[in-house]
């Protein structure tokens, strides 16, 4: 091969491939199966793909391979024991799953969350959003062949996981959020470490951009591919970065604020074309905005209790057990039976890294929920994959899956 630069762009070199149907004599369709075990499907997703030559004509996502019946299991657990179960649905954004379930139960109990707990929740939610986006960019870039980004993304996600370990004791599935607040106050040194993380991340995001955003292969692969009109996305119920990349500024943190997001100053990045490149840029910018929220949350973190004072819902502090009979009784009741929730049903929704994460809870008056249903954004967003990939090259289809960012644990639950 010569050392000359690419004189003919990547797309031009495939000029023999036409995006139009080839006509009567070439209309042979080939159905191939991608997955369920295929590295580019981001989990156990099976894609029944109809090809005409190298052009994708139709895709049927087939799901259910990691269905573990979490919603059914939740019906057999006390409310506070459901939290670890729901955290394992969308395993990259566990704080969000716990948050939306706690919000729904708090709404049924009419339980007020102390302000410090709300702010601590926001700190962890935004850290989790950054961690989730970092893992997304790591795997998405890997699908396109940029393997350096995998190491960089996982390296920096580890910094966020270190912070989770500091506050909750676990790196994944921390069970840090409780009904009524959070399980424990942040330890000394957490704030300093988080500030270090923020300072590091601003630099690292610039590094990602210098690695990817000026990379000709990355730009050629992402620009102009996977465009879906915003009306189609809305009809398909798509939310989150996918919708915002198409230019629709819908973000529940701004539109229907919860947990005190209205007190923070941040922007909602939107794209202009709605192609895969815009999806990439929107998520990168979302990480920067999350860092801004984190800075404000650390600066203005109010003093006060980190969990509700209502002993019928939250465990009493450990030191009270030695001196107060009442605290001992509350502790015993909460651990053995759990708290009861008055009969009723509600729906709570928050903005997860992938879109609207909703939780429907039906309470029948006992200490176990009668139904927990998660409206998982990955599950709904997956319906837009055929629209994205149709009449694109097979290679671009893989890019579309990467940029869609489905988490199969959340899809199948």
């Amino acid at each position: 091969m010569t050392d000359q630069p690419l004189s003919v762009p990547y797309r031009e070199r495939e000029r023999s491939v036409t995006m139009e149907p080839l006509g009567e004599e070439h209309d042979e369709l080939l159905t191939i199966n991608i997955g369920p075990h295929h590295p580019a499907t981001h989990g156990v997703l099976r894609l029944l793909t109809t090809l005409e030559g190298e052009i994708v004509r139709d895709v049927k996502p087939i799901i259910g391979y990691v269905h573990t019946g979490i919603e059914k299991s939740c019906e057999d657990q006390q409310y506070w024991k459901v939290i670890p179960f729901v955290e394992r649905m969308d395993y990259l954004s566990y704080y969000f799953n716990a948050m939306v379930f706690c919000m729904a139960v708090e709404r049924l109990l009419e339980e007020e969350v102390p302000e410090r707990a709300q702010w601590l929740r926001i700190i962890h939610l935004e850290l989790n959003r950054i961690a989730s986006h970092l893992f997304w960019i790591a795997t998405a870039a890997l699908d396109i062949g940029a393997i350096t980004m995998l190491w960089w993304g996982c390296r920096d996600r580890d910094l966020a996981l270190d912070l989770f370990e500091m506050s909750g004791g676990q790196r994944f599935h921390t069970r840090y959020f409780q009904v009524g607040g959070v399980v424990e106050d942040i330890p000394p040194g957490f704030e300093e470490q988080t500030r270090k993380f923020i300072a590091t991340m601003y630099v690292r995001i610039e590094q990602y951009l210098s690695l990817l955003d000026r990379n000709e292969i990355w730009l050629q692969r992402t620009k102009g591919t996977g465009i879906v009109p915003v009306e189609t996305l809305l009809a398909l119920g798509v939310t989150g970065p996918l919708l915002r990349a198409a230019g629709h500024p819908w973000d529940l943190r701004k539109a229907m604020p919860y947990s005190g997001y209205e007190k923070f100053d941040f922007n909602i990045p939107v794209g202009s074309h709605g192609d895969n490149y815009d999806r990439f840029r929107v998520r990168i910018e979302e990480m920067r905005q999350s860092l801004r929220i984190l800075e404000q949350a650390l600066d203005g973190l109010p003093e006060g209790p980190y969990i509700t004072e209502n002993r019928k819902v939250a465990l009493p502090p450990r030191h009270e057990l030695a001196t107060s009979m009442e605290a001992l009784i509350h502790h015993f009741k909460l651990v053995t039976e759990g708290f009861r929730v008055p009969p009723g049903e509600t729906y709570a929704a928050i903005e997860s890294p992938r879109g609207e994460l909703g939780c429907y809870v039906l309470a029948d008056g006992s200490s176990k929920p009668a139904r927990v249903h998660m409206r998982d954004p990955s599950f709904v967003n997956l319906q837009s994959l055929p629209e994205m990939a149709r009449d694109h090259l097979l290679a671009d289809f893989i890019t579309c899956v990467a940029m869609l960012d489905p988490i199969l644990g959340g899809v199948d639950r």
């Binding site: 919603e71 009809a235 009723g344 909703g358 709904v380």
Partner: protein, 173 residues
């Protein structure tokens, strides 16, 4: 959420627009507004709320299935409607019995309901009439029973491994 008065106004408009028998009740509980609808008029009500109501609810965000076991009719289907313009939510709920539950589909109005109605069918056995692809989605296609119903027992199903496969005669039947 619309408040209790707003919910009554919506119910009144739906009664005028679709028919008196379409709305069977309203429920305002913990800032969650629910419009109870007869199963056969779900499609009409959601079409009315999307297109003709003076305050349109143009997006369907979620479809939940639910089993209210001691209560009759047992099964419920919830449609969480959203208005992006007013940043407001409305829940439309319908109840069907456990024998031959049928609800008209809303896939043609809201394509997002495709997977979600299939999930409700899979878990509760509610058949959405007119759905183009009414198959199981999460459970295996040959699965029997509707696992999210409250009278469906938890556990008790053997997990197939290589070592116990010969001991479980004809599990694949």
């Amino acid at each position: 959420m619309p408040d209790a008065t707003g919910l009554e106004l919506i119910a009144q408009r739906v009664r005028e627009g679709v028919g008196d028998e379409a709305v069977t009740g309203t429920l305002y509980y913990r800032r969650h507004a629910t419009l109870d609808v007869a199963p056969e008029s779900v499609r009409d009500v959601i079409a009315y709320l999307r297109d003709r109501d003076e305050e349109p609810w143009e997006r369907l965000m979620s479809v939940h299935g639910v089993d209210y076991l001691p209560a009759e009719p047992r099964l419920g289907v919830h449609y969480e409607l959203l208005s992006m313009e007013r940043a407001d939510r409305l829940n439309v709920r319908t109840r069907v019995g456990v024998d031959d539950p049928r609800v008209p589909t809303v896939v043609d109005l809201h394509p997002t309901a495709d997977f979600q109605e299939r999930e409700v069918f899979d878990m509760f056995g509610v058949v959405f009439e007119g759905h183009p692809d009414m198959r199981r989605i999460l459970m295996p296609e040959d699965y029997e029973g509707y696992p999210q119903r409250r009278d469906f027992p938890m556990g008790g199903e053997p997990v197939i491994y290589t070592f116990n496969e010969p001991k479980l005669p004809r599990w694949y039947d």
